[in-house]
Each structure stands twice: as C-alpha cells, then as structure tokens.
C-alpha cells in the first residue's frame, strides 16, 4: 500500500494512505481529545474536539477536525497552538452548557480549565456525537436508532419515537455513550435483560466479553458465545478491531482431547440448593432475602460491592441481619435428609466478618443444632457468641414476610419454650446447603459409577475415595458434603489411591527440558540489557516509553536498552536471547507487567540464552504505574524511570544463584500402629516405598480394638484383622512393635532416627515422617455424672463392648439414659469430640434392635450427625429414642449408688426440670489428646491449644506440619471417625510420597547464606527461624543454613547482629542501593 509522510508538531511520521490525521497522531502518541471518534466506526466529525491546524505546502494553516482529515504527503499538522486550544475550550464550554452533569465533559472542562457558567445550562444528556447511531447501524446492522429533527430539535430516537422491534437488545448504544445517556430502554420493543455475573451469583452485571473474576487463572478474557452479537449474527466484531494484541479469535471451537489415563479422580464438586424450591422463605419475592453464597460475595473485597455490606433493595447498610440455617438440608420434604456439614460454620464466619466490616451489624443465627464439629470450630463458635456479639436462636421458623414500604423482612418463629415470636430484620441470609448433584448426572452415566440415595458418588464403606468403578476415585463434596480441610485431605487421599495404582509408570510422562551450559560471568564486567514493554497500549498510553528507554540506556551498567510491543510474545523472547548474545549481556531487566505472572517466563528465557536464572530482574510499569496513574502521564513516566533505575541498581549487584541438591532416603517412618498408622504405612508401600511402622504397644490396632461395629453396621473387627494381615504381609513394611521414637535428626529427605525397643536401640534412616500417634478416650473423672460409683454408669465404649461380649444381658427391656458432651465442649476441653453423637445413636439403635422395649433417652446439647449420618438420627427418633436438650450451664445432675440412680435434668424445650431413674447411665465421653509432649520435643513440631498437633494451615495444608517432610493424620490431628482417619492417612501418605518420589531434594534458590568469617555463633538466627533451617555447627561454632529446609523468608538475615547472614536475592546491599536510588542519592546514582 502507498504510504504518505507528514509532520505533526514537528515530528515526522509515515502512515498508509487513507489514514486520518488523528490516527497518524496516535502513532506518534500525541494525544488529541475526542468524544465522537471510535476505532471501529467511520469518522463523523461531530464533537469538534479533535481540531488541529493543518497546512499544505505554502498555504495558510486552517483548522480542521483531525478525525476526518486525511493524512497527506507533506502535510504539516500542529495540535497545540493557542488557536487550537481556544477552539477546543469553546467546544467544551458549549458541551458543558448542554450537558452540565456529564462526568466525561466535567473532567474535560477541568483538564482544559473551562470554568463554565457563561452560557445558560440546558441540563440535557446528549451531545449528538452519533456514536450510538453509528454503532447500531454500522456494527450491529440494525439502524434501530437514528437522528430525528433538525437544528435545535435534533435528537437520537427510534423511528417515530415508538418502541422498535428491530432492536436486538444488545445495549451497545448505552455502552458507547460518552455522556452515559440511557437510550436503550426508551427505544426497544423488548424487555432488556442484563447478563448477570455468575461469579457474584447474579448480584451485578457483566459484559459478553469478560474475565471470570479478578484472580482467575489464567487471567484472560473470554467471549460468552451464547450472548456475543458476533457469534449470534456475525455483526459487531468491535473487540477484534480494538484488541491491539490481536488476541481475538472467533473461530475457536470446543475441542475434544483424548487422554490416555490409568485412573480418574472425580473432584467435580456439587451445587448448592436452589432457594426457590423453598418458596416460603421468599428468596424470589423479597429483595432483601439473599443466599449465604450471595452474602459471601458482599463480604468479599473482590465482590460486587468491594466488601461493603449492603442490602439489595436500596443499597443501604443493613444493621439487623438474620441467618436461617438448614435451607434444603436436613429436610426430607425436599429429598435432602442429610446435613450439609458446612453451613453452620459458614454462617458464623459470615456473621463475624460482617461485624468486622461494619460494627453496627447485629447478626442473629436461627438454627436447629449448631454443628461446629471441625478442628478449632467450637472455639470459633464460642467466640462468635461471647466476643463478637453474634446472637444465636434455636428455633423453627414459621413465617417470613416483607414489609412493603421499608422492604424489611419479618421473621416469625417459635422459640424453644414454644412461644411465638416475631422480629424485624433489614436483611435475611438463607444458609442453603450443598445438595445439588444434578450437574454430575452426565459424568456419572459416562463413567458408570453408582450413586447413593441422594445422588452423590457411592463410596465403599471403610474405603474412602473408592467409587464402585475400579480405578475411579472421588474427592471432595461429590462424595459427601464437607468442609475445606476435609476436601483437601480427601484430594490427597484419592491422589494416593491413584498413585498406588499407577506407581509402576510414575514419571514416565515427564519431559525434561534441556538448557545450554551456564556462562561463567564471574570475571565479566557488568553488562545489563534493559527492555521496556509497551504492553500494547496498556503501558505506552500513559508512560512515555521511548523516554524511559532513553533514560535507561544512560544508567550505569546498562549497555543496551530497547522496547517491545509485547515483551512476552514469542518473537520478543527470541529477540531478548539474540540481544544477550549480540551485546554480551550478563544481566537483564524487563520493565513490564508483574513478576507474579511473568518472572518465570523471562527467567527461563535468560537461562535458554546461557545465563543463570537469577541474573534477571523485573519491575512493574503496568500494575504499579500505567494502570494506576492514568491521569498523570508526566509523573507516571517519572515514576517509571525511577523504578527502572532502582531495579537496574539492584541488578548491578546480583550474582548467579545455585540450587542445592541432596539425596533422598526413599523410605518413610510412620509413628503409631493404629488404624491411621497402618493405613498410612500400607498406602506408602502400595505406592512403592519402604516404611518403618513404629508402634509403642505389643500389638497393632489402637482404638479400633475396642470398637466392634459402626453406624453402617459393618464388621469393624474383621476390617481390623484384614488391615493387620495386609500390613504384616507386606514386605515393604517393617513393623517395629513395642518400640518408641527416642531421637530424630536431619531434615526432609534425610532423617536419622533412633528407635528404642526393650532396652535396645535401633538406628533407621528415612526421608519423611508420618505422625499417626492417635489420642486417648476421655476417662470421666471420679464421680463425674456418677462415673465409678456404680456398675450401671459406663461410657459408650464400655456399652459397646458389653453388648458384643454379653448380649444376653440386654434381652430384658431396660431404661438407658445417655449424656452427651462428657469431657467435650466445656471449660477444660473446649473442643467438640465430633464422634460421640454418632456413637450414642449407633448404640441407641443397637439397644432398640436388641429389644424394642428398651427405653433410650439421649440428653444432648447439639446433635452433630453431620453429612449422611443424619439419617441415623432420624431413624433413632422414628424408633422411639428420646432426645432432650440441656444447656451447658445446667448440666444434668446424677445421684448414683448401689441402690439406684436418679438424674435431674433441666429440659430446655419444656423449660422444666425432669427426673429420670434409669437402669443404666451411658456417658458419651469424648476424646483427649495423646501424651504428645515428648514427641513435640523430638520432632520440634507444635501443638494447638487443645493439645492436638497443629497443621501448617488449617484449611489448605491440613496434613502438613510447617516443617517440610513431616506429616500427620488420624486422631493425632483432631477427633474424627474411623473413615475420616483412614482418609487422612491415605492423604498423609502421598504428602510423604511427593518427597520420596524424588531421588534428590532440590532446595529453594532464594535462601539465607552465612559469611562464616563474620559469624560469632550467637544463635539468634536459630531462634527466629520458623523452619529449623538454622543451626550452630558444634565444632566450628558458626551458624549454618540447612538449604533444603530454608524457605527463604529472610527473618534470620534481619536478626543477625553481625551481618554474617544474608538473604540471597534480597541482600542488604541490594536493597539499600535501591533505596538510595529511590531517594535520589546522587552519589549512588552515577
């Protein structure tokens, strides 16, 4: 194509023939204001803001609109003469008088210093720029709107001002309007329907081209093909024209990919209950009734209100908020008799966080039972009640209705004493459960697995994660509703099952990338290459990129500086490699987007060019400059210069970093031979690695030896026998009976332990440790609820044993009272023991099965039969087991002696005292932590406040200790059922195998290091290190860094008083040089 050369503000530019002056100026990054020009539309020249002076050879300059004037050969253009600025000011003043409320025009007026007020204000909202009419006609092919009238009467309208059936309700007219006039609803014959943002559960709108949510991975835009005008009609296509990266591809199609897999893990999750199914709660009718998921979005800082709690009807801050529990859960009327397990905790959390956001909020939670059975959950519940002022009401909701004027919601309920009450709330949150399995139907039919009566994947009893199809495993809520720590553990558990199945082919798909040898730069002088990224227009539209390049080139150490349109594109990366070779660069700085997304890519590029990865540094000109300082290009450019100068200064000092490797001892040590320990050992062995299983007693089995059956009525004794048999028969498992861990030294991948057994000591070497040391049954104190005073008072475990060993004792009908929460949820042990409710119900059902005449009364505080166990609670009630509620403050009083027994119980529902004289009293004694003190000292791992081991992260690392290479599971973690313990055990096994499967352990490159000549051996670094990665060498008395343990936090480098320790990649010298440049300290700048 023919090109033309013209001059704009004295700068020459060459453009294709047919280009407008405005486009030519844009190429030079000369900003010309405009309101009516759009890349995707034909020029129109309506707003007259883009006026410039143009002069052809030898002619007097004339004022023209640059958006319509063609770029001609030899044309001289000036955009900033006084004449032009004045002309633009008049245009702005006229527009300001016409549309004084328009945000865009007010901003322009401020920018040009137009005060306004000279002309009479018209209070209109349209400047007749014609963007909407051109958009509708040219891009949407509709012409549903156009200009009508002439002169003063000219306006945008549909033909004859009537609702127009030609309109396709795309909304482009409203979207493109610079003055935010709402055209669309006036002209269309149809009811416009906004596209609701699914991620925010429909609380806000989204366009048809959108990113899923701010933290989405990968964080790229997608086109909603069902709603995109181009996809539907072939029109529009505006996005393709405006995207400078040319990233829009309308032809992308769904692809079918064949994967040859040996195992499948279903982690497809579950949907929440549709609140509309329970119409009585008014979700579809009342504006201020929302679901808990929606409320969660209101609380989120990336939600529709950026974390501001508002109510939908009027955007006001609500004060009184009601949470209603069990919507669609524990409700046989909608087919969901099971408990969703998580909603109690979720509501408590939402109530507490809402109050953190706005202390005026007064939350009330209406519930049936509060089920905070997870690790540390009970404490959170108590704090919500006592510290955070959350009100809890145990009740049944009888009616919800809206007050028409205020849109407040009235909640009618029956309180525990049977009284009808009514309360007014600004907002109601429905705690919908995890119940919807409908979306997994297709998957289920394709993979051919069986589902249970509720539509969840059917999982074998005592084999968590195993579906009915071989090689198909399930993890997470598709197996049963569960909280995050449980789903994460189950994820690991199912991975372990798959890993066992596929252990022979481990690593066979790994492709190792080959790199050229690293160049030795130690003798070279510093030669830095700086690359400034334009990121299309993202950076370049605000930051003056050529100026930054020019500035960078002069910085000390820099031998080459250049810019890229997109630094991350394949050809740019190739250019970087080429420049490294051409200019002998030995350090590289890229100033572009954020290192959080692109650092790894660039590091890999310099490595491909033969440089060490850490000879690369990156600074952000997009997230930290252009995107956040849009309105001040001059200062933005200054800041860009400074950021680049700071990073170049640091880069002058950086040196290659090496990653240290150490050999892995590919064996595990499992502590504890109970169900968890055995399962963990077996699981490690199944995955192909040797295990030492250390058990302190003379036999395997732990607590399982005292249990005989479970709710599902499987035979636990034979399960235990099989487990022991498998463990004993497996030649990869070395069982060490009557043994105790005496000492452990070393680090991840390389531990040495001393095991003591009958006076003898044995040394073993192993790469990981799995702690499965269990816990203890709580032994009620003397005379606690009459315990110990008579043979008729026993624990649930005692009862279970008696029923199995002496069934004849139970043939005669008798009265049994069971007391829940013995040794749990009190001042001494403020946690819930999780299993006792199910244990009581299991035994109550067994008693009923022995003899229907057996009377069983369960005195409880909250029944916590979470998940699918709820059905047994229902069954027990149907079979006549009586459940009666007591308060923590008014515990039942027991008087027992050889003559008989009398129980005084304050029934919360009757509000009256009730006396029982049962034949037997059964105490649901909880779980106490094991004697963990010694082990915490040997392994240097922490305990939580209740005496159980403490996880690295309560939610996302539930099976790990903070120290690498040590994992835990079962009752040592927290109270839990047998199946849950087995699941954790399998999970812990693969956490260990992730270490064992690597022949060498690779340390992080960014770690601490020690200058041994300066170290005085004071040991402060050892004290501050949270990872036990620092130690004092016994012989030399100087501090060491155990590279594989060091996580690179840098805490020790700060603590070191002699400056012997430094933080690689962030040395004091490097950081202080950066600050020197930042404060403009001249002596260090040059």
């Amino acid at each position: 194509m023919k090109t033309v050369k013209l001059e704009i503000n004295g700068r020459e530019v060459e453009v294709d023939e047919g280009t407008t002056v405005l486009e030519a100026a844009e190429k030079l990054e000369i900003k010309i204001p405009t309101l009516c020009a759009h890349k995707a539309l034909t020029p129109y020249g309506a707003c007259r803001l883009c006026l410039v002076e143009v002069a052809l050879k030898g002619r007097v300059p004339s004022v023209q609109t640059s958006c319509t004037y063609p770029a001609l050969d030899g044309l001289k253009v000036t955009t900033d003469t006084e004449r032009i600025i004045n002309a633009r000011k008049i245009m702005i003043e006229l527009m300001l008088a016409k549309c004084p409320d328009s945000k865009v025009i007010k901003e322009l007026a401020a920018e040009f210093g137009v005060p306004g007020g000279r002309l009479k204000e018209k209070k209109e909202d349209c400047i007749l720029c014609g963007l909407c009419t051109r958009m509708c006609a040219e891009r949407m092919g509709r012409s549903a709107i156009g200009f009508t009238g002439r002169g003063l009467n000219k306006k945008v309208s549909s033909p004859f001002g009537k609702p127009n059936e030609v309109c396709q309700t795309c909304g482009a007219c409203d979207f493109i309007c610079p003055t935010e006039k709402l055209i669309f609803e006036d002209v269309t014959a149809y009811k416009p329907e906004p596209i609701l943002d699914e991620f925010n559960i429909g609380l806000n709108k989204r366009p048809a081209v959108y990113t899923l949510y701010p933290q989405a991975v990968p964080n790229v835009a997608t086109i909603d093909e069902k709603l995109c005008v181009h996809m539907l009609s072939g029109d529009c296509g505006v996005c393709k024209e405006v995207c400078e990266a040319d990233a829009i591809n309308y032809d992308q199609k769904e692809e079918k990919i064949d994967i040859n897999a040996g195992a499948v893990i279903l982690a497809n999750g579950i949907g929440v209950f549709d609140a509309n199914e329970k119409a009585e709660y008014g979700f579809d009718r009342y504006d201020n009734v929302v679901t808990n998921i929606q409320f969660e979005r209101f609380l989120s800082s990336s939600g529709p209100t950026q974390g501001e709690v508002v109510r939908p009807s009027d955007g006001k801050h609500p004060e009184k908020i009601a949470f209603i529990q069990c919507i669609g859960s524990r409700d046989p009327s909608c087919g969901n008799e099971f408990c969703s397990s998580t909603c109690c905790m979720a509501s408590i959390k939402e109530a507490v966080i809402a109050r953190e956001h706005d202390a005026r909020i007064k939350p009330t939670i209406f519930y049936i039972d509060i089920r905070t059975f997870g690790k540390d959950f009970e404490r959170y519940y108590e704090d919500a009640k006592n510290v955070h002022g959350v009100n809890f009401e145990r009740c049944m909701i009888s009616k919800i209705y809206e007050k028409p004027k205020s849109k407040n919601v009235m909640v009618k309920y029956v309180d525990p004493s049977g009284q009808q009450k009514e309360a007014e709330f600004d907002m109601v949150v429905l705690a919908v459960g995890m119940t919807d399995t409908s979306k997994s139907g297709e998957l289920v039919s394709k993979i051919d697995i069986e589902t249970n009566e509720y539509g969840f994947a059917k999982v074998g009893n005592r084999s968590p994660g195993c579906t009915t199809a071989a090689g198909v495993f399930v993890a997470g809520t598709f197996a049963e509703p569960k909280d995050i720590p449980e789903t994460v553990a189950e994820g690991s558990s199912s991975a372990a099952l798959a890993s066992a199945l596929l252990s022979d082919s481990r690593g066979s798909l790994v492709v190792k990338k080959e790199y050229p040898p690293e160049r030795d730069i130690s003798a070279e002088e510093v030669r830095i290459g700086v690359f400034i990224c334009r990121c299309g227009r993202n950076i370049a539209s605000v930051v003056d990129v050529p100026r930054v390049v020019e500035f960078s080139a002069k910085l000390p150490g820099v031998v080459f500086a250049s810019e890229f349109l997109y630094s991350c594109s394949k050809d740019s990366l190739d250019m970087i490699k080429q420049y490294i070779a051409e200019h002998d660069l030995n350090r590289v700085v890229v100033a572009s987007c954020t290192p959080r997304t692109h650092e790894a890519l660039f590091r890999d590029t310099v490595r491909e060019a033969g440089l060490n990865r850490f000879l690369f540094e990156m600074t952000s000109l997009r997230e930290q400059v252009s995107w956040v300082h849009r309105d001040d290009p001059v200062r933005a450019t200054e800041k860009a210069n400074e950021l680049v100068a700071m990073m170049v200064a640091k880069t002058r000092l950086v040196n290659p970093l090496k990653r240290e490797f150490s050999d892995t001892v590919q064996k595990a040590m499992v502590l504890g031979g109970g169900a968890s320990g055995m399962r963990a050992a077996l699981s490690v062995a199944e995955q192909g690695y040797e295990v030492y299983l250390v058990e302190k007693e003379a036999s395997l089995g732990g607590h399982l030896k005292d249990l005989y059956y479970n709710l599902e009525d499987s035979d636990t004794a034979s399960f235990l026998a099989t487990l022991i048999e498998k463990v004993s028969a497996d030649d990869k498992i070395h069982v060490m009976m009557s043994s105790k861990l005496k000492e452990t030294s070393g680090f991840v991948g390389n531990y040495k332990s001393i095991i003591g057994s009958a006076g003898e000591e044995k040394k073993i070497e192993h790469g990981v440790i799995i702690v499965a040391t269990g816990a203890k049954s709580y032994e009620p104190e003397d005379n606690e609820f009459g315990y110990g005073s008579s043979d008729s008072v026993m624990t649930q475990v005692d009862l279970e044993g008696r029923m199995v060993k002496k069934p004849e004792d139970f043939s005669k009908p008798q009265t049994y009272v069971m007391i829940q929460c013995v040794g749990s949820r009190d001042e001494k042990r403020p946690y819930c023991s999780r299993i006792c409710c199910a244990h009581a119900i299991k035994n109550a059902l067994k008693l009923k099965a022995f003899n229907e005449g057996n009377e069983v009364i369960v005195l409880y505080r909250d029944i916590r039969t979470y998940g699918f166990m709820e059905k047994y609670y229902l069954e027990a009630r149907e079979k006549g087991v009586i459940f009666s509620c007591y308060d923590k403050e008014k515990k039942p009083e027991v008087r027992a002696d050889s003559g008989g027994m009398m129980i005084r119980h304050m029934d919360r529902i009757l509000g009256k005292e009730v006396m029982f004289a049962p034949d037997k009293l059964v105490l649901s004694a909880g779980i106490s932590p094991g004697d963990n003190d010694e082990l915490t000292k040997i392994l240097k791992v922490p305990l939580n406040q209740d005496g159980f081991f403490l996880d690295a992260h309560a939610k996302i690392r539930p099976l790990d200790f903070t120290a690498d290479g040590i994992f835990f599971c079962g009752l040592a973690h927290s109270p839990r059922s047998l199946t849950e313990s087995l699941m954790q055990a399998q999970g812990a096994s693969i956490r260990g195998v992730t270490v064992l499967s690597k022949e060498k352990i690779e340390a992080k490159a960014i770690t601490a290091c020690v200058n041994e000549r300066v170290c005085t051996g004071c040991g402060l670094c050892v004290t501050v290190c949270p990872y036990d990665a620092r130690e004092i060498d016994e012989e030399t008395r100087v501090a060491q860094v155990i590279d594989v343990m060091c996580q690179g936090c840098g805490a020790c480098a700060v603590a070191c008083p002699s400056g012997a320790t430094s933080h690689k990649g962030f040395t004091k010298k490097e950081i202080l040089l950066m600050t020197d440049v930042a404060v403009g300290n001249k002596k260090d700048k040059g």
Binding site: S302, H629, V1054, I1071, V1079, N1081
Partner: protein, 140 residues
C-alpha cells in the same frame, strides 16, 4: 514553588501486599504516584536499616505492607515486623522524626482497594507533615 510531593518507599511482602498492588492495577484503582515499591519476600525481612537509611537521606515516608495477623506465609514474619516497627518508631521519635512517617499495614492479596486507599491516605498524611526535616537540616 510547586506543591510538595512526598517521596515514599514501600517495602511489601511478596505474598500479600505485592499481590494487592497488582490487584489495584488490574482493577484500575487510581492512587497518587508517590510510592515506589520494593518487593521483599516477607515483612519480617524488613531490616530496620531499610527504613532508617532512606529516612536519614531524605525519603518522606516508608510504608511496610505485610500479611494480616495469622496469615503470614512464613508463619510469624509479620509479628516480627510488628515488634520491630514499634521499637523503630520510638527510636525515630527520639531522633526528632514524626513516627507517622513510617506506616506498617496489613494488606492481603485480595485487598487491592485497601492498598490504593492506604497509599492515598499516606500521601495525604505526609503532605500535611511536610517534607522530611532532614532535607533542610542536611541540605539534601
């Protein structure tokens, strides 16, 4: 004389505040360009000298951004930072600095808006405090 524009240095944790600054960017939340960010791995690795030296050499403020209590990527680095900054502030006051030139804030990775808000507040605040007194004293 043009308006005083404070020169502020921010030491931010790689895991939380740096990500929050990124989120402020992706959300296009505008804030004044007075703050220059230096990324560290953890607020617990902010050496007191990182704060003192720039202040003595003329920086008008130092912002330290770390993870909320209990959220530290390295378990306890933010607590270390908190203790250190408390002591540092007393030292600064004894030296004749307004301790309000040093801000320690907890900003999680999802709090882009909070990050921009804190930077804006800090710039306003330091504008009120005026330029670093050292500048005049030592003729920097």
């Amino acid at each position: 004389m043009s308006q005083f524009e404070p020169n502020i240095i921010a030491f931010v944790c790689n895991w939380c505040t740096y990500a929050a600054a990124d989120l402020a960017g992706t959300s296009r939340i505008q804030y004044p360009p007075n703050v220059k960010i230096i990324r560290l791995m953890c607020s617990g690795s902010v050496d007191p000298i990182f704060v003192m030296k720039p202040l003595l050499e003329g920086a008008d403020g130092v912002l330290i951004g770390g993870c909320h209590p209990g959220d530290c990527h390295y378990t306890s680095g933010n607590y270390k930072a908190r203790r250190r900054i408390v002591i540092l502030k007393t030292i600064l006051e004894n030296m004749g600095f307004e301790s309000d030139r040093v801000w320690l804030r907890w900003i999680s990775a999802s709090e882009g808006k909070a990050f921009a808000g804190i930077v804006t507040d800090m710039v306003d605040n330091i504008k009120k405090l005026g330029p670093n007194p050292m500048k005049e004293k030592w003729d920097l």
